[in-house]
Amino acid sequence: MTVLDHDLAAAWTPDAHGPRRDPAPLLPDREPVRVLGTPALRRTVDSPGGRELLRDLHRRLVVGRRFNQQATTLTKQGRLAVYPASTGQEACQIAVAGALRPGDWLFPSYRDTLAVVSRGVDPLETLTLLRGNAHCGYDPYQHQVAPLSTPLATQAPHAVGLAHAARMRGDSTVALALVGDGGTSEGDFHEALNFAGVLNAPVVFLVQNNGYAISVPLAKQSAAPTLAHKAVGYGIQGRLVDGNDAVAVHTVLSEAVQHARSGEGPVLVEAVTYRLEAHTNADDAGRYRSAEEVADWQARDPLTLMERHLREAGVIGDAEVAAATDEAEQLADRMRTLFHVKPDLDPMSLFEHVYAEPTPQLREQAAQLAAELAAEAATEDQR
């Protein structure tokens, strides 16, 4: 070979346009990480604080399931306009709260009401969107929870921007964005992960791969080896976890959050799970999936799984289960009470928060509505 070739060889590495990352450490786990039913569970039990952690996860799972059930019941009673249940995905939903610190931010998607409630937001405030009385009933700054995002994946870039801003400020905040398997197809998902990689923002993306986007199965959504493999294209770390194993999700998410917090970069976590209920109460899941498939996954219910393994490991017994069930019933009671009170509705509020100050146009329109309401009230008084 000539000297020229040698020179070129140096130039023609993948680094020709600057330093690039080695792909090897970015590739996800070969198999989804599991703890329940593996030797890792024993290690967790024996670790300092391990038993408490496991009991806490179990308790949250029990309460989480009850939350989903009660919200579903309220919907059947007409108290919620629509409810997209996370039944079957509770391991992911509750792990979120445990993996984040108070200052961290959560960016939920429309199905993630349980994650929001697990983070501490009041159930009534969380559910206003689905009840129909207000878009976002909670103060995002109280528990650092962004509004539930209905347009899919659009909140992922918000998480990146917030994490980036926090990092510039010198804060140790981590942002966690929740996306569905369907949501990963959206351009915003791509742009968010790319920005995260380039900015090295302290952000974690959790994809709850429940196998369906409404009726569309994963095979029609993506041909990727796993969704976690998408990480490599952004130079960020991919992780794959059993999304029905609450301990595994907790562990992997905690590691990811720690990775992001320490400045090592963003992480994309794929949790393989299943939604046991229909897409929403309005959906007819029988149109697109078989009863056998649902039964298969019911046999892998995250709650049953957890309870069985923790009992087996001697971490919980009847007392813990009873205590958790009690707490769950208290929540359900509270929800029933809360939702039996008619919501406070002020039509004039429609104009209040469009801008910091209503524009002259909105003042005119508000006056029109006020006059209409007054006229209506007068008519009713006359009766």
């Binding site: 629509v82 569309v216 029609k220």
Partner: protein, 338 residues
């Protein structure tokens, strides 16, 4: 997320807008092998509103394709399909979920024919369920017609009746131009005596229709507001007003002839639509009616529209939507005492 799909109880002879649309799609697929439907959940599920119900089963998954969840990708893929001679019909799941496809629509779909001096037309139909009144959560009730009507190169149509649902959708799919086909979702389950056996011939796009003759004033409207206007016209009788009602059906092109004639006949006009008023389609209607009928007008053209606010949560939407009272109030302000 999906909103409730009200149960379809069938009265004898009565057909819903939803099934007329389904029939239009089926007939188009049957008659023209180049017609292909694509979108989120349009295949196995038949769409969240069931407008494509049964079509994948009858015509195969390729003709009625479940796509990944990415609206720009769906419309962009449809562009490529149209370039190869197909006639794609795209379903956007809800109004606000068409926004990710905005660039494809405005920068390509609307302009490809013009860009290529007519050589590369894009006969794409983009079906968008739109409007409120269905108790939908945020992002499920937008009236986005003004964005599309303002974009040169697009036709924008919206049916308000079952028969028009069939006829306009057939016309849209048959059109060699891209058509944004706006489906008033709260009328999906409204019924009419319409025979699926002998559907009306497909009318060309661009003609408004006078739904009610009247002498006192003219209501100009379209889509989901037509039934409200007709109701208002009935109620107006008690006030001594005989209102004409024009259903535009096509926002672009605009039927100046029919509209101007209907306004000249009464000398007074109110434009009614759900979408926010500011720089909405109603502004265009009011402006061109004022321009063309100036000396026939006894009063300014008034508008009754949604407020200039983001669409409200379900429990407050009735205050936002133009209703009968608000329309009658506007009619009352048409300077009758002069």
């Amino acid at each position: 997320m999906t909103t409730a799909t009200p149960s379809r109880t069938r009265a004898a002879g009565a057909t819903t807008l939803a099934s007329a649309l389904n029939r239009a799609l089926r007939d188009s697929l049957r008659e023209d092998p180049s017609v292909h439907i694509l979108g989120e959940d349009v295949g196995t599920l038949g769409g969240v509103f069931r407008i494509t119900d049964g079509l994948a089963a009858e015509f195969g998954a390729d003709r009625c394709l479940d796509t990944p969840l990415a609206e720009a990708g769906i419309l962009g893929t449809a562009v490529g399909m149209a370039m190869y001679g197909l006639r794609p019909v795209v379903e956007m799941q809800f109004d606000a979920f068409a926004y990710p496809a905005f660039e494809q629509l405005v920068s390509h779909v609307a302009r490809m024919r013009n860009r290529t001096a007519g050589r590369m037309p894009l006969p794409i139909t983009v079906r968008i369920p739109y409007g409120g009144g269905i108790g939908g959560v945020e992002h499920h009730s937008d009236s986005s017609e003004a964005y599309y009507a303002h974009t040169p190169g697009l036709h924008v149509v919206t049916p308000a009746t079952v028969a028009d649902g069939y006829g306009l959708l057939r016309a849209a799919i048959a059109s060699d131009d891209p058509v944004v086909f706006l489906e008033p979702k709260r009328l999906y389950w409204s019924k009419e005596d319409w025979s699926a056996e002998a559907p009306a011939p497909v009318e060309p796009i661009g003609r408004a229709v006078v739904r009610r003759r009247g002498t006192s004033a003219t209501l100009i409207t379209y889509g989901p507001s037509l039934p409200v206007c007709l109701e208002a016209a009935e109620a107006a009788k008690a006030e001594g007003w005989d209102l004409a009602v024009v259903d535009l059906r096509s926002l672009a092109p605009f039927d100046d002839e029919t509209v101007a004639a209907a306004v000249r006949a009464t000398g007074r006009a109110v434009v009614v639509h759900e979408s926010s008023g500011f720089a909405g389609v109603g502004a265009e209607i009011a402006a061109r009616v004022s321009e063309r009928c100036f000396h026939h007008l006894a009063a300014p053209v008034l508008r009754v529209t949604g407020f200039d606010i983001p669409y409200p949560p379900p429990m407050l939407e009735q205050h936002h939507l133009p209703g009968v009272d608000r329309i009658l109030d506007a009619v009352g302000r048409l300077q009758w005492e002069q």
